[in-house]
Symmetry: C2
Subunit: 437 residues, 2 copies
């Protein structure tokens, strides 16, 4: 029998500081409010709409993928079995299909070996940051407000992040240049800037074409890499699309994060990163993707073959053209964003109420500015007394900012829910304004 001895007890002070950083559970209050008020209509989470999914299709996609392995790639039954059940290549099994799909859908033409298939975009972000952040002097620049996933990944690696403000046309390039020079003046090294050029989360802002070219030029001039994240690019509200930074990148400046969470489904957790940057050293010449694979081998070893097979099957089934396959979904999101804008205009006419919101060209999110603080207390009141939930924009700022703003997500509600949700939100906002507090 083991002798008695002290029970293991841990304290936050003993654990990595990221665990005490509000960043890593910034969403907890939102989640708690949602759990406490399950009947409330929630504009909170940016979840994709899953009404078009059918469980039975999973088998069809698996079959489509195994047929592809057999008919197109000439694999034997044993090889197909191994492809599905065994450990696989670290950098992925469906890279060729992914390369074909982004060529068709985004006009991005890259070698399949420059792609690493990852467990969602999140793993890709961690791999890239681990590769680029060599030490305490390396700094990541991020749009502010920004996506929690990139700042959270940086936090896990003790990497300094410097916020760069956005305007209605996305990343402020003058502010970026100033931030880069300020970082250098501090004796540190700006490594990369993270940006969502299309229908950004959380702001909904999109970068015009000329600004995209200017960002690429600035990156070349300042020897900066650009981390382009593009989960929402398909979902244009206006019907017009802009070229991705990667498709305009002639100088290997752009590392491109791709996700199938919104264009296929989140449950597969399959994303990818394009990292075609040459890495020169000791005679050997590799590309950054090869280095990312080395890191991935110590993070997840490889992306689950089963998940790759289902997504690969979807790509095969749609002839590597997801944009066409997602037409119904794209129309759905367009309709939702229009319904949200329309309901806001009717329930909170801006000529009568001191309330403003942006008009995104697409995506899942818009930002509303209120004449008072949109804090957790107001959120709790909204859920409890008015049955409506949203996300305080302050959650998405690295420092201060967004105190009077809320993010509204229209991605997974029905138009009817959006109408009712906005009616409740408007009633609450008008009441609060009348109350003058």
């Amino acid at each position: 029998m083991p002798r008695p001895g002290p029970d293991a007890e841990l304290t936050p002070a003993e654990l990595h500081s990221s665990l005490s950083d509000p960043l890593l559970d910034v969403m907890n209050f939102l989640n708690e409010v949602t759990l406490r008020h399950p009947k409330a209509i929630s504009f909170g989470p940016g979840r994709p709409y899953d009404g078009f999914f059918e469980v039975d299709r999973i088998g069809d996609y698996l079959t489509a993928y195994t047929r592809h392995l057999e008919a197109d790639l000439g694999r034997t039954p044993e090889q197909i079995r191994t492809a599905l059940f065994q450990y696989g290549r670290t950098n992925g099994q469906i890279n060729e299909l992914v390369a074909r799909t982004i060529a068709n859908d985004e006009g991005i033409h890259v070698d399949a070996s420059h792609i690493v298939v990852t467990v969602g975009c999140q793993e890709a972000m961690l791999l890239v940051l681990r590769a680029l952040i060599a030490g305490p002097d390396d700094v990541l620049l991020v749009t502010d407000p920004g996506y929690v996933g990139i700042t959270g990944a940086a936090r896990l690696l003790d990497a300094e992040t410097v916020p760069v403000p956005e305007d209605d046309a996305g990343l402020d390039l003058d502010a970026l240049r100033a931030a880069v020079r300020d970082v250098r003046a501090r004796g540190k090294r700006p490594r990369a800037v993270y940006v969502i050029p299309d229908f950004a989360n959380p702001s909904g802002a999109s970068m015009p074409l000329d600004r995209r070219h200017q960002l690429l030029d600035l990156a070349a001039e300042e020897d900066l890499l650009v981390l382009e994240d593009n989960p929402y690019g398909f979902f244009s509200r206006t019907g017009e699309g802009r070229p991705t930074l990667k498709s305009l990148d002639t100088r290997h400046r752009v590392i491109y994060f791709g996700s199938f969470a919104k264009t296929c489904f989140p449950g597969a957790r399959v994303g990818y990163v394009i990292a075609d940057q040459p890495v020169l050293g000791g005679g050997a010449r590799t590309v950054l993707a090869d280095e990312l694979s080395k890191i991935k081998s110590m993070v997840t070893v490889n992306t689950p073959a089963i998940a790759q097979a289902v997504v690969g099957g979807m790509l095969v089934a749609h002839d590597c053209r997801l944009r066409e396959a997602d037409k119904e979904l794209i129309d759905f999101y367009r309709g939702n964003m229009n319904a949200l804008l329309d309901a806001l205009a009717r329930h909170l006419p801006q000529d009568r109420w001191p309330v403003r919101w942006n008009v995104p060209d697409g995506g899942f999110f818009l930002v509303m500015t209120l004449p008072f603080a949109a804090d957790n207390a107001f959120l709790e009141e909204a859920a409890r007394d008015h049955g409506v939930i949203w996300t305080p924009m302050s959650y998405f700022h690295l420092g201060s900012g967004g105190e009077r703003q809320i993010r509204l997500s229209a991605s997974y509600l029905t138009p009817g829910q959006i109408e009712e949700g906005v009616r409740r939100l408007a009633a609450h906002v008008r009441q609060r304004i009348a109350r003058g507090s």
Copy 2:
């Protein structure tokens, strides 16, 4: 048009130092040799045998899981669709099934909420190390020789690892105590010791019961956590099993890494970690598993629902008793290890040749000691001239060690291949001894 500007070029010096660490591509030479000599019989990789897998079963397992959600948990079709296609709980969806399975198979009784389902064991190791390694003074102790996955994960986090030698009965506890005190004497903090108590990779060593109790006592006395990794525990050659450290752990000293890669299949990349250590702070009381979930939300967000569903379906289909379900597989590995031992005894009788090997109680690996250096040159010669491949043990040592040893894996060959492979290995070894070099 973008103005011309410098092309992005990276050098290893700009990237994280782990990428220049031989550790992260220690296996490259082995992989290259294997690719250059595809016809060689390879005792190299520790891949599970996949001859028992059937592609058609994937659909059956998915169905078993959805039936479980419907019949046992009363989920609606919409809820089932969401469970498979949407983002899921960060700490996992099949935790209850995993908890039941480890209770049945290992006598480990834990609350499902103390389990985090991960993308293979590898992600679990990274999460645990990120939580425990708070700064540069925190040190991880690892068995030497040891598993590359744990030292590699530590390397990604710039965590210092201190090797602790093994003997035939596993981790040397006197050496562990000395190492712990040496670390403290250097003003650093030993956080945890990583160990594979059953049929270790790479050594094949197993810890007797009394040493397990002594390790737990030592951990309590020295305020150390024990990271128990148990991928091979099912595969006893002798038919006898020993209790896991976690099943003996009365003081929350053990963090347990579980894998379904060998007991179900690797292609799902589903593993888990049991982290029931209390975390006390700021009034709140959580368990370490909750903290690991926060980190996981920034690494992979959640383990792919599709992969969890397939593994969950296997658990349901086998009534949460994998040990019984794996009987045929367990017999296969027993037969292979016996075939390997038998062939070695016939082809390299130790009374006639200065060659030694250990006799593991089970698992995938044994270690052979040669009277000369088993380096990459000898490996190349073995593959090229004798059509046989193995792994130099020096790959598995943090510093020096294992220069005259090789690891033989019998996990995925047939008994016939093992016999022929050992014949070739023996011919090469005898020739080399005769050559006197």
